[in-house]
Structure formats: C-alpha cells, structure tokens
C-alpha cells in the first residue's frame, strides 16, 4: 500500500504517460474536508474489457513484464479509497484517452496524508517523454495560494529536467509555490 496521497497521484500520472498521452491535465483540489484529484489524458485509452479488469493486481498491461503479470498502481488506489469511504471512477475508450477521478475525506482516520506534494510533482514533471503535463492546485485561502504549472513552460525555462542543477531549480520553484501560508 502507498503511504501518501502524493504517491497515488504519481501512479495515475505515470499510467497516463505510459498510455502514450501527449497532453495530461492533473488537478488537485483541496477543501477543508476533502481532497479531489482528477487526471485526464489523451492516451490510447482502454477497451471495455480492459476497463473492467483495471485495478486487478493480478494483471498489468501486456508487454510490461509478461512473465510477472502484476499491476498494483490502481489496486493500491482503490484499496485506499475503499478503506476510507472515498470515491473513485474511471472513464476510458480506445483512442479517446482516460479520465481518472478520486476523492478522499480528510477527516477519515485512515485517509493517507498528502505527503511531499512538491517533491512528488517534480517526479511527475521530470518523467521522460515529449508530453505536456498541466498541474492545477487549488486549496483553501488559509492553507496557501492556488497555482498552476505547465511542463512545457518549465522545459522552456530550464532546457531539460534531468540535469541535476535543473532538477534542483525546479524543486525550489515547486516548493515555493506549494509552501503553506505562514500563520500570522
């Protein structure tokens, strides 16, 4: 099982990248009592049969590691959602991309903590590929500001996201956006 909500977000974004998406939208919306995440991609999508099977840990996408058909990404997500009375839904079609939505009640004792969101989103943004990833973060005003980041804009500013110096600069940037509002 994953320890934080950030890990679950990274799983869904990784799936979108691996589905060959050229554009991925991630929104992470937080209120006083709820965290709702949506990941929408324009990747290859899934058939009805694949959709019915996704989240089954005994299966993974063919070609990944055929001798060991195991896939725990969505399985972990569904397990956490089920254990905490959250919501999960997925919509997909061949050639039509995929949309994954999930939500957690932050008051539930077993809802995982958010974790290091800035550090995790750095990994999501730095994952290799030519795709665009747009991240929108919303939260209550007392918690911090809303922000939006585009992978393409980051790459234009930095040149690449695999040279350590650029990763460190991007990490500093994301932390500055995600910092919590200082209490007066």
């Amino acid at each position: 099982m994953h320890a934080t909500l950030s890990d679950l977000v990274l799983e869904v974004v990784s799936n979108a990248i691996e589905a060959g998406a050229s554009h991925i939208d991630l929104s992470f919306r937080q209120t006083a009592t709820r965290i709702a995440v949506e990941v929408r991609d324009d990747g290859k999508g899934m058939t009805r049969e694949q959709l019915a099977q996704c989240g089954d840990p005994r299966l993974t996408e063919p070609g990944k590691h055929d001798a060991r058909p195991r896939g725990f990404g969505l399985a972990f997500l569904r397990q956490s959602v089920d254990a905490t009375g959250g919501q999960f839904d997925i919509a997909s079609g061949p050639g039509a991309g995929t949309r994954v939505r999930f939500a957690f009640d932050t008051r539930h004792l077993d809802t995982p903590p958010i974790g290091d969101l800035a550090g995790t989103l750095l990994l999501a943004l730095a994952y290799p590929g030519g795709h665009e990833l747009v991240i929108r973060r919303e939260r209550p005003a007392q918690a911090g500001e809303n922000w939006k980041v585009s992978r393409r804009a980051l790459l234009e500013a930095l040149g690449d996201l695999d040279r350590a110096g650029n990763l460190l600069a991007a990490r500093h940037y994301l932390k500055s956006l995600e910092q919590e509002r200082e209490t007066q």
Partner: protein
Amino acid sequence: MKKMTLDDLRKLRGEKQQALSRRDPDNRDVQIVVGMATCGIAAGAKEAFAAILDEVESEGLNHVLVRQTGCMGLCHSEPTVEVSVPDMPTVIYGKVDAELGRRIVLEHVKGRRLIDNAIFDRPATDIVTE
C-alpha cells in the same frame, strides 16, 4: 520563501549553470537512474531520489543526470538505482534508502568507488531486451 515566477526560475537556472563543473574531460555524462514504478514508490524511491538530489546539491555536482525509469524487475530489492560513471562498470544498487542514496553520490559518483554489499548485477531477465 517568496513565491517564485518563471523569470525567477530562469535566473536560478543561470546561477546553477555557472556553478556547473564538468569533471570528465571528454564530456561524458554521469547518470543516476532511479526505479520509480509502483514497487519503487512503495519502498521509498521518492525519498532516495530526494536524498540523491540533496547530496548532489551539497557537493555542487550540477552536471550529473538524474533520471527515472519504470520497473527493473528487482521488486524484492526496491528502491533500485542504476549508476553509470565513465570508465567504471555500470551497476544497480538495491534497497537504496536515503542514506545509501547519499553514499552513492559521495562514494561512487564523487569518490569513484563501488559500494560493497549493495550491488545487483543487472535487471531481471524478463525486463532485458537484447
């Protein structure tokens, strides 16, 4: 911390570039690849990645490439980290926690010494494509 803009980010990049020091005379890259599949994430690959970046920063090794990859088939030994340094064998380290991540940068990348008792030979056979 002040909220940064993209212009601030460009300036910060310029500063990091100035501090960039290439050690290899032939411009060959040092590369650190962290396995970031479900198995890696669950075992703490994010923490290993962050520790590697921290150590790279404190040692001023801004030229090093730090990348992610999917499952290397060594799920039993996650987090896994592959390290390629010119004129040294490419190796995969297993069970890389934050401390071992920092040692990889300090001892392998900077000190050019392999770290005993933490190395795997190569990815699992069903992952390798010849």
